[in-house]
Symmetry: C2
Subunit: 133 residues, 2 copies
Amino acid sequence: MKPVRRSQQRDAIHKELQMRRDHPTADELYFALKDHWPALSLGTVYRNLGQLCEAGLAQRVPGNGVEHFDATVHPHPHVVCHCCGRMFDLHLPSELHTELLKQAEPFFEGKLDELLLRYGGICAACAKPAATP
Amino acid sequence: MKPVRRSQQRDAIHKELQMRRDHPTADELYFALKDHWPALSLGTVYRNLGQLCEAGLAQRVPGNGVEHFDATVHPHPHVVCHCCGRMFDLHLPSELHTELLKQAEPFFEGKLDELLLRYGGICAACAKPAATP
DNA sequence: TCAATAATAGTAATTGTTACTATTATTATA
DNA sequence: TATAATAATAGTAACAATTACTATTATTGA
């Protein structure tokens, strides 16, 4: 295990990630934090997100060609909006994941230990027509 | 719609894709075809795979940071091997996909029209210990 | 057969991500 | 509290997967 020393940047990244209901990409986090951390580096965001994942404080969720990050680590389904590209949680019954894994096992000659359940659609914000001021 | 003219390369790419039980990446296809098509260009593989997908003759399946391609276009689950990175079909009951989509709808305020069901595990070939000759 | 033009090979450009390096910040200890 | 060891940073370069560009070649309808 690598030594991990505290850093203000990592705390800020973790806090921002926990705060949000969507699951931002490294880039989105970077721009969200730039305001209060003008000197922040994109590499720092990537490195710290990696460390948070290793430490079990976050998980990577593959999006549409980009990696998203989620501060909730237990496996659960997500939705990616075709329109804005944002990723959200889908709160299906929590046993679904385990059930689907067990259900699939006899159909594969080998071992299954992971399941990515990613829906695609149009989020509420994008479905709503733009307000005309 | 763009005009599509026949080409030997596209036919070869499509045939190779249909032939294989795994779902190769553009790169893997490129190297598989290089033997009989020494002048083949990687860009040509990408471009033609894109066209085949647009034409409904193939589908993209996001893998682990790389795009895989599948000549079977109806939605169905896949397995990605953690060890060799290859992607295979998982022949679960075909109605599962539609059912999971329907099941999830009431849990999302917006529209759902797509579902990626991607298992992870160790394939039979990788699970087997290497033969000692 | 031939002219119009889509497709190609080869290369350059883009994008998301990781690696490298000199400098700065953190922390355990004196 | 001061300090020394060293992890973390900012900034930049490198990288890998993919797309775009361009001069040349192949296909196809007349």
